[in-house]
Subunit: 325 residues, 2 copies
Amino acid sequence: MSIGETPARSLARPRALRLGDRVAVLSASSPADQADLSVGLEALRFAGLEPVLYPSAHERGGTRHYLAGDDKLRAADLSAALADPAVSGIAFATGGFGAQRTLAAMDWNEVADLRPKVLVGYSDVTAILEAVAARLGWASVHGPMVASSGEATHYSFGSLLRTLLHPEMAMTTHYPQAVALRGGTARGVTLGGNLTMLTSSLATDTSLPARGGILLIEDKQEEQYRIDRMLTQLRRSGYLDGVAGIICGTFTRCGEPDQIQEVLAERLGDLGVPLIAWADVGHGGRQQAFPIGIAAELDADARTLRLLDPPLVPGDSDASDHGAA
Amino acid sequence: MSIGETPARSLARPRALRLGDRVAVLSASSPADQADLSVGLEALRFAGLEPVLYPSAHERGGTRHYLAGDDKLRAADLSAALADPAVSGIAFATGGFGAQRTLAAMDWNEVADLRPKVLVGYSDVTAILEAVAARLGWASVHGPMVASSGEATHYSFGSLLRTLLHPEMAMTTHYPQAVALRGGTARGVTLGGNLTMLTSSLATDTSLPARGGILLIEDKQEEQYRIDRMLTQLRRSGYLDGVAGIICGTFTRCGEPDQIQEVLAERLGDLGVPLIAWADVGHGGRQQAFPIGIAAELDADARTLRLLDPPLVPGDSDASDHGAA
């Protein structure tokens, strides 16, 4: 059993959502499919939350087909949603491409000293979750988008709602279908998400190294040699130095699973830390919510992630942790 | 007319090749097509050079299909070729993937204090050329591989031979088919190559920022949003701060040229430096040799790159510049 050298401390946690809470819906990335978006908005309303739409959520890609409006618009939406005290959380409409452009257009001074609120998304949104951890010291939630579609989305939505509304019930996550590539247990603060995004933020002011952390990586449509190249860059840059444990989620349409697993085992196995693959987090369809910035213990043999703090601050009070920007 | 703030000084230049010179042929990346390799070796011999084959040139990808042998083998080949005084230059057999893994396995102490010798390659080999500039202070040549195939390879081969054997005749390169996206002239030291490779080396100890340089970028099979994302990372990381001028080569199978040009103009045009696109350098088929690490002047309006020093040290003596590691 290997335990991280320093006690793992969660980042500043937002308060849990409550029925009736207003949740900002915007895109920091690509235009959302409007039909899928409208279904997702209804699902949020069914759950008792009140979505508040920002202009980027309805952008159709007029500036560039893969951008939900220009960089200023997307950054303004994100800043406004972070700052608006009437909004309790931010659910990203969709991913795609553009989050790093949004970050480059952000003025972080505008959002300093705010109380943490929960942000939810994955894929391209990884860059945003990493940025709020690095720049604001906030925890967040890696989970489905509002305009997510596909099969069994009730599974992902159910897991997300439990985390957001009843965080004290979301302390332990089991990944029974996962494979332990290296056994043991490790403690650290959760981080990570989409591998391409983590790599694309290296050397920028929103990158957060994995030292002392339980790192999640997942990806979609990246061939084996690209996965290898990204892991090589993470290694060479020092990003992986001192990582406590690694959870590999799904690698969807990345080629033969055997070959992907071989690359993960080879490029990550020699780090000597607990390592599992094929957790149901990421682009594989149904996925479990993965809290970011929370002290946790990974048991690779049991394929279980146990949080040491509730991922959001539970209860009916207005309490949240203090930001640690 | 904008001129770089500091006088541009070439990196340490290797001596020009002479008839009868031995040239190491190896792969730091993927396995070479053996039929194409044997054609390329004959072409080198026709030119009066003597290729010396290293084990990686004949590797078939037994370790992993996209690697010419394991990392130690490729790094050992590269180190041996750099150190062997009987070898006057290194021509890479092919590109593909793996150069960064080779670099991670290199012991730079083994190759310190050597006299510069010319290295030739492009694509994945960009990472090697960047590394010898960053770690050894050497100039090199961005040009075709030994196992290059396709149409009109005599054009690329002819341009390369002129640069290697008669560098004093290779002082000015014209790109008549290029488009000036931003006019003006600029002086700086040439650098760059494959955009994916430059981005994949960010935050590592072999990355060389573009400050004060005339930067070449080109790519193959990277969609518009990926090109955008890489340029965004180069911007955000500070890599492009102070760049003097930019030459965009070919972007092959990257989608509609209009869309690529739009992204290049938008993401690079606001840097305010001379900028041309579609120079015949890179994966577009026939390409002109592009010396790396040489003081030069880019005239974007004339679409001309004029070197201020011969790219290799000409003449029959054994002289080369001193290394500046």
